[in-house]
Every structure is written in C-alpha cells, then in structure tokens.
C-alpha cells in the first residue's frame, strides 16, 4: 500500500514558488482598492495627549486618516484565547491605541490613500503628542517591589502565575524534599533572549467589503481561527466573513495571530466601503509583529553522587510584552511538560510568572515553550555532569527512559507512547566520532591551543501533534486541537482533498497527496489539495505546533477510509456479492476467490451517475472526517555539536554537527530533511546570532537585518543528518511531526559545545547569543583567553 508514502518527492508547490508564479496577498489587486499605512509610536510608554491629522488628510491621494478614538467602538479588543488561570490579569488590547501606547511600534493612527506611496508620504504629516511614562523593560525589575507599572489599572506587572507540582498532581514526589535530601544540587539562571520570527514574506492583508459579505486575504497561518476570532471581536457575522490564506511565505508561529493590522484593515474597509490593502515594511514587521522567547529561567536540579537525578524545580519569568496576544500566556506553559525531557527523575515543580513589559508583545515562535525548556534542561544536565565529574553523555544514559520502559508516565503528567533514545544516541555517536573528538579536545587542552574544541550534547524530546482537545480544555485554552479533512471523488476519477491545515511553506500539498494516493490507489498527480480558504475548506484548526501531519494527516486517513467503505458497498452491489467479500488493493476492488474486479474509478462513476446504487445509498462518493488525538506525539533525537572557540577573539565556529532524529514514520524524506535543516539554522541562530535588543527608552535597536543577524548558508556548517524510526502509537500513520525538532534540539547542543570548549579555563556559562565579544569577555573574566 505504501508506494508514495516514504518517497522523496520534490514538492508540487515549488514550481510556482521558485518561478515567481505564487500568489501572495500583496499580489492581490482589486478594482478601486485603497492602501493603508500606519503611524506607529516611537516611544515605549506614554499617554497620547493629541493626534492632529489635519495636515495629513490634505496630503495628495489621502482619503481618510483615523485615530484610535475614531475606531474605538468598532475595533473591540484583540483576542487572547488562552486565559491560563482564572484570575489572569489581561489589559484591553486595542488595535489602534486610544489613550496610551505601551510599546514602541504600537499603531496610533491609520492613513488610507489611493496608492501605497501616498499613504506612506502622509505618515509624517500626522502629528502625535506623547506624555511619556516610566518604561518597564527588565523582567526581574518588573516584578520587584515598587516597580513602575505597564498597566497601572491592573495593579501589577504579573499577569498570572501558573504552577505544576508533581506531588500535587500525583505524578511524582515533592521537589522541596528532593532538594533537602540531595547529595548534589546545581542551580543556574538561564536567559532566553528575545527573538524575532523573521518570516520571509512580510505580513499583508487585503479586505474586500461587498454589501453582502466581507472577504479577507491575509498572510496568516490560521485562516479558520482568524475568521472565528474576528467574528467574535469585531462583530462581522461569521457567516458573512470569508478568510483566505493564499500562498504564505513562512510564519514560524509569527503568523499564528489575530493581528492589530488585520482588525484595522477590516474595520477601515467596512467604514469606507472599499477594498483596502496593507503590506508591512520589514522594519515595521520587526517592531510590531509578535516576538518570541524572552524568559528568565531559574532551574535547580538535584542528584545523587552517582549521577541519578532526583528532582528539578523551575521558576520562570516569561515576558508577555505590553499586551496578551492570541496564545501568548500558554506558550511558557507548553514548556512545563518538557523540563523533565527524556529523563525519569521522580520529583518536579514548575512555576511560571507571566510578566508585562513595555515591549512588543510576544507569542508563539517555532517550538513555543519547548525550545526554552529543552535548552534549560540540556544545559543544566551538562552543568550537573561537570559538577559530578561525569561525562555528560554518561549522565544522560544513566537517567533517560529506556526503550523497554514505554509507554512511560512522566513526572510532568504526560504519557510518552514510544521512543528509543539508546538507538538514536548510538547512531549519532557513531556518525560524530565522539571518542576521537574527545581525544582531540584533550590534546588541545594539554597543548594550550589558542583554538579550543568543545562538544555539546542535546538529547531532546518534544511534544507535537497539538493537541488532544480535552487536554487543551484542561489547560483553559479556548479552542480544540482536532483537525478536519474531506475528500471529493470527481467523476473522472480525480480527487479533491480538502484539509483544515493551512500550510505556509511546509509542503502539505505534496505530502497530503502522497497519503491520499496510497490510501485510494490513485496516481499522486490526480490529487488536488485545497486549503487555506474558509469557503473551500470550511473547518480546521490550521497549522502550528508540528500538528499538521500527526493530526491533519490522520483526518485524511479517516476520510479516505470513509470513501473506501462506501465505495466497497457500491462495488459489492455492482459485482453482486457481499461487501465483506470485497478486497481493495492499489485502486481496485476484487471479489475474493474470483477474478471479478472493478476499479475505484468505475465505482466513482457509478456512484456519481447513480443509475444503480444499493438501497439507501446516497449518490456521490465524498467524505468528511475529523480527528481528535488521544495523546501528543513525542519526536526525539540526539544532536551532537563540535565547536571550535578561538580564545583570542571569542569567535565560535561549528566544526561538526550531527543529528539523528526520530520523527516516527516519514511521509516524504525530502520534506523532513528540509524541515531539519531549516530548524537547525534557526536553533543555531538563537545560540550564536539572533537577539532583539532595546535601548533604555524601549526602542528596538535591531529593527533591520543589518542589526538583527540571521545566518545565511555561509554561516552554517554542513549538517550530518540521519534518522531512527520508532513509530508513534498515537496515530495510524505512526508519525510524530518534524516542524520544530531542529530548532528545539540545536540551541542547547551549540551552547553546551561553546561552554565545553572553555570550561577547563573556568567558564561555566555564556549568555545567548554567544557573540565573539561575550565569549571573549567570559574568558577575560576568568583570566583566560589571549
């Protein structure tokens, strides 16, 4: 049955993407369409004392200028769908600021003009007066006694505190007792710097308000959620609103959002009764599209002298920025289930404080909570190994869940269905040449080589396949985690697959076609995948959290099974036998024990013309299916990184990078490889390059790619990748998800390697990103380096 699944097919969508034939939102041009540009606050915290638009409305081509006050009634408050606690503090979040601004980059006025150029020209003519307020930027200062407040009305900068305690949950012991009884305690504070998702296609939205209904095109990951949330917050009846996500050029979680700009375009287009387009500039994107990470992580790990880990306590400060965006409060909570990682220590406590600052709001960014957790646990395992004088790999072996211990109930309350950490690690160690590199490291240390060698390990797992709806409900998330698929068999035998997933670079059109081709025995080319339009694909929960294959792919399998079940009934009727006597293989029905056969194509025609259908069978051969998973899926793997650290300049060079990932069954190895490479690039970038920096006034000083450093191919090593395959038990495809694995695993592998290179000189941590200057200063601080 698996002819297509497992095949390294080139992606269907690439021809149009790489020849410029794709249809991005910004390519859409409607008759009479107006253009919108946005005045943004240059200050991080201020009362707006006046907004004077008189000069701007007189500018050439300008049709209207709106202030927050003009739109206050219609714009509502931007939705936050994840109130993690009953008493969570949540400020109103206007799309256009009305009385005050809370981060630099917040929208304060809207210019609408006949052309984009005229709209941009008029921005400077809008005169806004600000009465500046104290700026809250530092997480620890924000929660200190007497801190200035981002939202004085709320009375605190702490939005919510969320706690998980394994003792209270009945999943493990008491961590305070573990600390009291521990032979070894290692405590560290790690900082997850703020990152900018930096998707390739800037955000863009077009709204077409006809008298009957409103159509919105948006560069979004979540057309279905967006439609729901816009209907709920802006008051357009849901059945009168169609949302289309055309080709979307990346998201990384950055387009998992109901954005101010989408709300503004919708409100303004309806107000003017004309189509309106907005496309952001890169700097606008970096200032105002939500950021990711930004946590302070205080981690305590306890162990016996022999290396047995006995407990972990984690206390986080998580920066929400100025407002609570769509799923932001839940992002650090997703990490709560991952600090125990692949280890079986018995006591665990997780405390998370979500904190407001006068910075761009944060939200999901590739991995969302899990990279932060994986970083902290893999870093502190290395620190514990150093404290114990053990090889860090040996420490991991001693504590991980063995393959024969699955399914395994974790101290964080999850059940890991499958895994084989031994196999993935063994393969990675072999490809890496672990022992030889350790020998070289020792030689370089002994020789005092100015270039030292470090080895970093990351034996990670993560949770994908978001998510069982009952779990989301228990975590107070407002939506479910199921996914929908529908199949329409066309009279000529071609197949339309309708999916609720919303790809923005993942290659769903290809992978989904492979799954359908195998299940129905039709050629790959005969499958058309329809998605990203609420009128065409009416139900879905969209694409994020490495969920699309594990959840959406399973819905496709279920839909295909429904088609086949009905087709079997029709085929049996036409071949004059009982349905139970009909076999199906490679697109053909056959009567068992005879030579009588009938192709699926013939059954489709018969079902369509309906000349001779069994009693009670409806014409047509279509199906609908939804899948709600029982459990998450848990990809895992072992990443090994060798870095060379030039102790004279502090420069870090990745000498070798090996990863062996276990993402379960693979539908398309080429797509998996692409996801791994991109994920590694992004994870390595957090370790070495990227950081959103603000000055003391709260202005983002890294608002262009000249200052916010993304690596290119020239800055990355050759990746040695391989896979082991331990099928997931939680879905019929046996798949786990691969969208975030590389990003989650690689950051700690690199930083562990950096620290390992200079640990013998006295360095036990380097703040991310590990810039040459930071490494050099760390060496200077311990009297090392040259």
């Amino acid at each position: 049955m698996t002819v297509e699944v497992g095949k390294a097919r080139r992606r269907k969508e690439d021809a149009r993407l790489i020849t410029g034939a794709a249809r991005w939102t910004d390519n859409i041009r409607l008759a009479g369409m107006l253009h919108m540009a946005l005045v943004r606050s240059p200050v991080a915290h201020a009362r707006i004392t006046s907004v004077d638009v008189t000069a701007a409305v007189r500018m050439p081509g300008v049709l209207a200028v709106f202030t927050g006050r003009d739109l206050a009634e219609e714009q509502g408050s931007l939705p936050c769908a994840w109130p993690i606690t009953e008493d969570m503090l949540a400020p109103p979040a206007p799309a256009v600021a009305v009385d005050e601004v809370n981060f630099a980059g917040e929208v304060v006025a809207v210019v609408v003009a006949r052309s984009a150029a005229e709209a941009h020209d008029a921005l400077e003519a809008v005169d806004v007066d600000y009465d500046e307020l104290p700026v809250v930027l530092d997480l620890e200062a924000a929660v200190a006694e007497g801190a200035d407040l981002v939202h004085p009305d709320l009375g605190s900068n702490k939005s919510a505190t969320w706690v998980y305690d394994s003792a209270e949950a009945g999943a493990g012991g008491d961590v305070e007792q573990a600390i009291a009884e521990a032979e070894v305690v290692v405590a560290r504070t790690f900082r997850q710097q703020r990152l900018i998702p930096a998707f390739m296609e800037p955000r863009s939205v077009v709204v077409d308000p006809t008298p009957d209904a409103v159509t919105m095109w948006s560069s979004t990951q979540i057309p279905h959620i967006l439609r729901w949330m816009l209907a709920a917050t802006v008051g357009v009846p849901e059945h009168k609103l169609r949302v289309i996500a055309p080709d979307v050029g990346g998201g990384f979680g950055g387009k998992l959002q109901v954005t101010p700009e989408e709300v503004i375009a919708l409100v303004v287009a309806r107000r003017l009764g004309k189509p309106v387009k907005w496309t952001e500039t890169r700097t606008e994107s970096m200032l105002s599209a939500h950021h990711g990470r930004d946590q302070v992580q205080k981690v305590v790990v306890t162990a016996k002298r022999d290396g047995t880990v006995t407990g972990m306590r984690v206390e986080l400060l998580a920066d929400m920025g100025a407002y609570l965006r769509l799923v932001a409060p839940g992002v650090p909570i997703l990490g709560a289930f991952m600090y125990n990682a692949i280890y079986k220590f018995p006591a665990y406590k997780f405390i998370c404080h979500n904190v407001f600052t006068n910075k761009t709001p944060t939200d999901a960014y590739r991995g969302a909570g899990r990279p932060e957790a994986t970083f902290a646990v893999e870093r502190i395992m290395d620190e514990l190994a150093a404290e114990l004088g053990m090889d860090p790999m040996e420490l991991r072996r001693k504590n991980w869940i063995n393959h024969d211990e699955f399914p395994f109930d974790t101290v964080a309350g999850l059940t890991y269905d499958s895994g084989n950490y031994e196999a993935a690690t063994a393969r990675a160690v072999e490809l890496f040449g672990y022992e030889a590199l350790r020998r070289e490291q020792n030689d370089r240390r002994a020789n005092g080589d100015p270039v030292q060698l470090g080895i970093g390990i990351s034996t990670y797992t993560e949770m994908c396949g978001l998510a069982p709806s009952r779990v989301l409900g228990a975590l107070r998330y407002a939506a479910g985690g199921w996914e929908h698929a529908a199949i329409r068999m066309l009279p000529t035998g071609k197949v339309e697959l309708i999916t609720g997933t919303s790809p923005h670079g993942q290659g769903h059109e290809t992978a989904w076609s492979q799954i359908v081709a195998d299940r129905l025995g039709v050629p790959f080319e005969d499958v058309e995948v329809l998605h990203g339009d609420t009128q065409v694909a009416p139900r879905g929960m969209d694409t994020y959290g490495s969920r699309s294959l594990a959840v959406g792919g399973t819905a496709i399998v279920l839909a295909a099974e429904k088609v086949l079940a009905k087709a079997r009934t029709v085929a049996a009727h036409l071949m004059e036998c009982a349905p139970d006597d009909v076999d199906f293989s490679a697109g053909t029905f056959s009567v068992r024990g005879t030579s009588t056969t009938m192709s699926l194509g013939d059954v489709v025609v018969a079902a369509h013309v309906a000349h001779d259908l069994p009693e009670g069978v409806e014409p047509g051969l279509d199906s609908d299916a939804a899948f709600d998973p029982d459990n998450f899926s848990f990809p895992h793997g072992t990443h090994l990184c060798a870095t060379e650290v030039d102790t004279r300049t502090g420069r870090v060079t990745i000498r070798k990078y090996v990863c062996v990932d276990d993402v379960g069954k693979v539908v398309n190895p080429l797509i998996v490889e692409g996801q791994v490479h991109g994920g590694l690039a992004q994870g390595i970038a957090q370790a070495l390059f990227e950081e959103a920096v603000h000055d003391e006034g709260g202005t983002l000083t890294t608002a262009t790619f000249a200052d916010y450093l993304l690596p290119s191919a020239a800055d990355l090593p050759h990746f040695v990748t391989d896979r082991t395959e331990t099928p997931a038990e939680s879905n019929p495809l046996g798949v786990k998800g691969v969208g975030e694995a590389g990003t989650i695993a690689s950051t700690p592998a690199v930083v562990n390697a950096v620290v390992d290179a200079v640990r013998h000189m006295g360095v036990d941590d380097v703040q991310m990103p590990c810039t040459p200057m930071r490494v050099w200063k760390a060496l200077q601080a311990v009297g090392g380096g040259a």
Partner: protein, 284 residues
C-alpha cells in the same frame, strides 16, 4: 519601504553629472550602485530631492594600466574589481577586501568608487585604499583635482568631496612583489566589519622592507596603523617580530562601542587581526 519622492536624472557624461549636482545643490545625491543609498532612501533616513544616477557613465568603468599605477573607474562594480587581472596582480589587497563585501548580489550592483565616497567607517574598501596610498580623482565644476586617500576620508560618512564634486577615478600605485591580506572580523558573512585589517608587506631577503597597515572601523575614518608599520620595517619576517609589532595596532585609534563590540574589544581585535593579517601577507 517606499522612499520619499525625488527627481531623477541620468547624465551621460561627467560634465553633465557635475552640472546636475551643482544645480541640485545640497539636496542632490549621487546614485552609483545603490549599495548604501537605496536602503537609506527606502527607510526614509534620507530624502534627497534629486538623484543623479551615474550608471550611464561608461567612461567611469574599468581598470586601466598607467605604468606605475592603476586607474580604476569609480563606477567599476565590485565583482569586476574582484575578477580584474590587473588589480589581482598589482593591487591584490583590493581584490581580497572586495571579496568580503556583502554578498554576490550586492557585489554585482555596488561600485568601487561608491564604496569609497560613502566613507562608511565599517566599509571594507577605505582602509585598503588608505593602506595603498590611493589617490582620488575628483571632478567638479572647475575641473578635476586629485586628493590623497589620507586627506579624502574626513569623518563618519564624510569625505573631502564638495557637494558638486564627483569621484571619477581612483589611482592606485602598483606594489610589485608585495604580499597582501585583508583580515575581516564580522559575525555573519554578509555583515559589515566589526574590525578589519588591511596589510601589504614587502619582504626582501627575509626582512620586512616596507609595510602598510590600514584599519577598518577603528574610528570615524579608516586609519593607518603607523606604529605597527614602523615596528615592522627592518625586522625579520618572523612570527615573533610580527606579534610584537601588532601590539601597537590600536595606538591612536578611536573605536566606537555598538551592539557587536565595545571599544576595548575592538582594540583587542585590532591587535589580534593585525598579527594575523601581517602574518598572512608575509606568507603570501
């Protein structure tokens, strides 16, 4: 990223270009390859009222052999400099520095003269031009004049060019038999230099006969590491002599502090990179 409106002229001769600049006054800007000006315009950090586009001035492209020196047209694109056999043979330092500028797309647009006239302290061509004692040929309403590199770079993004003057050519003395190296330190491949060192060295009979060392991004303008040059000349071309000389690299410099590096670290880098650049130049 839409620039403010501007007028545009595309002259076909240097004379015409100079006239256009003079008529445009203070708000006229020269557009060469656009490597730096286009981003500045798109981010609205500058709003000139007139752009004088030099791309039609074919007389300003190419490299000419003038005996003791090369004459490089200001509109010669980076990728042409990289591949030019005359430059590679007689002024290799320029090729090596140009190899490190930005990325291939930009090297196909950006120009040699544009990069010098822009005078970005973190740009990679001013320090080599200074180290090579290049001479800038400038055309204005009253004819041409020649300005030595040492007088050309005045301050941050500021040169000796008058608003109505145009850099037309750069004269680069040939250094036959010299070794050269450009040691650039940055964080990602296409980024500007945090610090870089341009070194050209003549070794004769195992002894350093002449040395030129230029520093990128160690002050508002490119600077010559005169102390290093003095310390090298007459010394044997040994690791020890080079290391000793390189300790003087930061003398008289005025490095800035920014997100990538503070002044102390830049001074340290100048010393380490000078040692490496001179070592490579001697070995080359």
């Amino acid at each position: 990223m839409i620039p403010a409106a501007f007028d545009y002229v595309a002259p076909t001769s240097v004379e015409e270009a100079v006239r256009a600049l003079a008529e445009g006054g203070e708000d006229a800007k020269v557009l060469a390859g656009g490597q730096s000006l286009i981003p500045v315009l798109r981010m609205r950090l500058a709003a000139p009222t007139l752009l004088v586009d030099l791309s039609g001035l074919t007389e300003l492209t190419g490299v000419h052999d003038e005996g003791d020196s090369l004459l490089i047209g200001a509109m010669t694109r980076h990728y042409e400099v990289q591949r030019d056999h005359l430059v590679r043979e007689h002024a290799r330092l320029l090729c090596l520095a140009t190899d490190t500028v930005a990325d291939p797309q930009i090297r196909h647009r950006g120009t040699f003269g544009g990069a010098l006239a822009h005078a970005d302290p973190a740009g990679d061509l001013p320090a080599p031009a200074l180290a090579l004692d290049a001479v800038m040929v400038c055309a204005g309403p009253h004819g041409t004049r020649e300005v030595p590199a040492a007088e050309f770079f005045v301050d941050y993004f500021t040169t000796a060019l008058a608003p109505d003057e145009l850099l037309t050519h750069v004269r680069v003395p040939k250094l036959p038999g010299w070794g050269a190296h450009y040691e650039k330190f940055n964080r990602v491949a296409q980024a500007w230099s945090i610090v870089a060192v341009a070194a050209a060295v003549e070794v004769s009979g195992g002894v350093i006969a002449q040395a030129r060392v230029g520093l990128t991004n160690m002050g508002p303008t490119p600077v010559r590491a005169r102390g290093v040059e003095e310390a090298l000349v007459g010394q044997p071309a040994t690791a020890e002599a080079i290391t000793t000389a390189a300790t003087r690299a930061a003398e008289g410099t005025d490095p800035t502090t920014d997100g990538n590096a503070d002044a102390e670290y830049r001074a340290h880098l100048a010393r380490v990179l000078t040692e490496r650049a001179v070592t490579a130049a001697v070995g080359a």
